[in-house]
Amino acid sequence: MTDASVNVAAGETLLAVDGISLRFGGVTALNDVSFDIKRGEIRAIIGPNGAGKTSMLNVINGFYHPQRGAIRFRGQNLTRMNPGFAARNGIARTFQNVALFRGMTTLDNLMTGRALKMNRGLFWQLLRHGPAMDEEIEHRRVVEDIIDFLEIEAIRRVPVGRLPYGLQKRVELGRALAMEPELLLLDEPMTGMNLEEKEDMCRFILEVNGQFGTTIALIEHDMGVVMDLSNRVVVLDYGRKIADDVPAAVKQDAAVIAAYLGVAG
């Protein structure tokens, strides 16, 4: 693990945020935050509640537009990202409170994840034959592979609104994977899960990273998970970056300990 993290840290930068400041009226959510995500690493963003972690992800995929700062993605400088651009350029995302299409089946949710890669127009869609059907089948194959990978074959036809929370989280990961992302943003993928579900989720995250080489940025409160999974950790507190290092170093960092536990005296 140590070797891998050293290699990754030396690697090419996939995405870098530079001096990001985000305010909502008088509230400063992010204050001059800079860090980078290397290609192929698992990057954790941690911090106490309200530290600005989710805001950071929202800035990265373009939901929020920061007042100051820039984002550099695959060498392109962007003052602001927008969700459509992010999606087209291979940034996928899961949400803290599952944001699935509740009325649709698992299969349809994952197929929707392929929306950008499907391009047969209205005419063929109306007929649902020929090229439209071929395209549908081609993407169904990819989606079935993901269903196999995540071991959710049994719930293929179930509307996701009826699924238990842990499975919904898994389907949401599946939908993000269906986009074949280069950068996967996971917002608390393990909240509300029992130990077994957490272990499954960790396994999926590691396999996605290991097999497909997907770069992952994740927010998580379970420190055990964070320290085990991630190559590097960035720590936010009250919208500021207070630490940015490999897990072992972050664990010992005085500022981090103070942020989580408070300062004595």
């Binding site: 299409f101 649709m104 197929m111 929707t112 929306a115 950008l116 869609q125 089948i137």
Partner: protein, 358 residues
Amino acid sequence: MLYREVGQYHTNYRADMRIFPILQDRIGILVILAIAFLGVPLIGGSFFLDVVATPFLIYALAAIGLNLLTGYTGLLSLGTGGFMGIGAYTCYKLTTWFPGVDIVVWILAGGLAAAAVGALFGLPSLRIKGFYLLVATLAAQFFLQWAFERIPWLYNNNISGTIEVPTRTLFGLPITGATATPVTRYEVALCIVVALTWLASNLVHGRIGRSWMAVRDMDIAAELIGIKLLPTKLLSFAISSYLCGVAGAMLVFLWYGSAEPTVFSIDLSFTILFMVIIGGLGSLLGAFLGAALIHVLPIVLRGVPPALGLNIASSTVEHLNLMIVGALIILFLVAEPFGLARLWQTGKQKLRVWPFPY
């Protein structure tokens, strides 16, 4: 017992992705089509065709149109009556200008104008949702009805202010106007409705249908996946209005024979909306069931007292009718808030495992 899918395995995705993957369903739909095309015209008299069957088809088509918008894309609209009017008036103008062209072509073309107007009035949907969008589409409804009344050009400067359907033939057979038989008009309506339902069903099962439902269920996540909200919503408005427009043209040309602007009032919008809600949001079958409940059931009930030999004044029958239909609507919605289509699904599920509970 008969409704079992045991032993029906799909070994490729094409078979698995059929709209009716179960054999019994495919047989069922063929039987229904055979009855609709052959049985109904042979058995039903001209009263039945003109009062029950043809209007049922037309309402069902309009309900499918609104269902694509409200049930699939999650956008509320009360402009249905107006959009149906656009279809009717466009068809009327076109057939006045080009009387030689087949009327079916103009009925289908009438929908195109409705689609354009629908997309235009759909523009606010990017910013507003729910009840607020409902109010915005209400503006469309009132504006369009005003236009139908106040712009004489639309009804060819007719003194009466109504559109009168001229006689038009297809292969020498009159299909609109006074000389067209109920059977011909029914068959033409049936062909159009079956064809458009088939296309709509294809659409909702593919990429476009999924993107509509994604926008309905969670628009933020849909945007994140790369679905562009505005084009998706406008396409939904356009296609929904297209179907409503065609239904409106059929309403005048294949059923009423002539129409005043008040035909396309807010009442019509509400009628279609109720059909969609009671039939089942997000279900094409629901559009048919809703149209049946709201249009056909009152007619059936009206015939019950005479059939039983009861001598009740017709106004009393009418009042009883309203009460019974109203009570039934409440009953159905209490039993299944997601509409008749869901009730049907639940029933089918029960049938599959019968006689066991699960």
